[in-house]
Amino acid sequence: MAAKTKRKAAELKPVVVVDDAHITYKVFSSGRRATRAAAGGGLFSRKMGLREVHAIKGLSFTIYEGESVGIIGSNGSGKSSLMRAIAGLTPLSKGAIYSSARPTLLGVGAVMLPNLSGEKNIILGGLALGFSKKQIEADVEKITDFAGLQEFIDLPMRTYSSGMSARLRFSIAASRDHEILIVDEALAVGDMEFRKRSEARMREMRDNAGNLFLVSHSMQSILDTCNRVIWIEKGELMMDGDPQTVVDAYNKHTGATTND
């Protein structure tokens, strides 16, 4: 491992270094299994229904400049936890992650401010990332066009369908070039036309010397966009390397016959 790292370091510049990363969540659980586990604990005992979920169990890898990394694995394997940790949004319980620039995460679900219109979400998102009002005002129209949401941009985001809000969030993130962009299944709910358009944009970003992490269950997207694939299962590294090889092994593991 050390020898490999040294040899690569001579030729390539590291962008993200994940060093023995562990993530544990402490969750209050309820139900029969939890109560049984807590038997013997008092009302105020910290044991009551408290379960520790070890989502990531000591991952280590290095990503080099220009690599687009696909992350695959079954549901609950820790992919999203790892991505959120790389973006610095989830603290690690042990280990560390280093990066050359602050990674931007584009995830599922989290609508920033559901009661505000799409346009105001664009503005506030930009301001939070430290852009000036002028820069953002110029961007609003471009982002709306890319998302194809001109008619709905002044409606509150809670009224958007999941596909529409995914479009908007991707467009906000894609309106700028990022050194490191993490796309976590954000395109899964988009329609085919938007998926094609956004994949094209991701390839463009990758070619502009950006690094991309793509979490997806569509092996076709992974093969089209990535030049390295990491397969995670139950918080542990299963395989890391050439996309076709890893995807084939993963398909064999899950019994899938197609890439979609």
């Binding site: 050390a2 969750v27 790389i86 610095g88 050359s100 602050r102 995460l105 995830g107 505000l116 506030l124």
Partner: protein, 282 residues
């Protein structure tokens, strides 16, 4: 060579690391438009749901004042401080700003989980924005208060302008309180259940509808201690400026300024210490 050394050699930085204090303040200052924008838009969104919209900003405190005036003015008609209605309204106005900031601060992190989970920015902007939102709501109320005072024939004078520094000091104090409450609220959510009781107790003990000085005239030691209550200081200061028959003392300016600066500084430090832990899902 360990991975950490390798990363350091290539100039990589640990992600999610808490920035140094001065850097943190500079990053937050660079994003001040975000705090203002969030406060303004959240207000608009909240008002858009009601039919009377932003009129509630004025209607609510008016109703509140009428209720308090009725209860404390008519039912407790004996033993009232002099110039009672202006005395009461000034107290209620300042108290609402303070308690609103504490309550909004306590839920600043939990009510914005969507933002915390999707964007990286100095988290201190959330409690700051919560207080700005209170301030935006309170400025029209201050106008309403001044009009009410004129109706009750208070003498208007240049010293009314000194309300500007009072509101600034009070806002600084509220920033501090909100930041402290935000960290506690993010780590111990139970605080949201306890806070209403704390607010009630402070309301009844800080001399909003009675005069602390008159009540405790026989207990000078207790009064000396209570005079350091920041709520009392700010309210007495405002009364001294606005209400006839009450005077501003240098002591009030001094303690109010002290509270404003100390609470703010302590609040920022206290909040910054836990910066890496916000947004954790446990």
């Amino acid at each position: 060579m360990s991975l950490a050394d390798y990363a350091a050699e290539h100039g990589l930085k640990r992600v999610g690391a808490r920035p140094a204090f001065v850097d943190y303040l500079m990053q937050a200052w660079a994003r001040k438009d975000f705090a203002f924008g969030l406060a303004k838009y959240s207000n608009e969104a909240a008002n858009a749901k009601n039919r009377l919209g932003r009129w509630w900003i004025i209607l609510l405190p008016t109703l509140q004042a009428v209720v308090y005036g009725l209860i404390f003015g008519v039912l407790m008609a004996r033993d009232r401080p002099e110039n009672f209605i202006p005395f009461l309204f000034t107290g209620v106005f300042l108290f609402t700003f303070m308690s609103g900031s504490a309550t909004a601060g306590a839920s600043a992190m939990t009510s914005n989980t969507g933002l915390v989970r999707s964007l990286a920015f100095p988290r201190v902007l959330l409690p700051i924005s919560a207080v700005l939102r209170q301030l935006l709501n309170n400025l029209p109320q201050l106008g309403l208060l001044l009009i009410t005072l004129l109706i009750f024939r208070q003498t208007i004078g240049w010293d009314w302008l000194l309300m500007i520094p009072v509101v600034l000091l009070l806002t600084s104090f509220n920033f501090g309180v909100a930041m402290i409450m935000a960290r506690i609220g993010a780590q111990v959510q139970d605080i949201n259940k306890l806070l209403p009781f704390a607010v009630r107790v402070l309301f009844y003990t800080s001399g909003i509808f009675f005069s602390v000085d008159r009540l405790l005239v026989g207990y000078p030691e207790l009064l000396a201690v209570l005079r350091f209550n920041p709520i009392y200081d700010f309210i007495e200061l405002a009364r001294g400026l606005l209400v006839d028959g009450y005077a501003v003392t240098p002591f009030l300016w001094l303690t109010a300024s002290g509270w404003a600066v100390l609470t703010f500084v302590f609040g920022v430090l206290f909040f910054w210490k836990a910066e890496e832990r916000y947004g954790r899902e446990d």
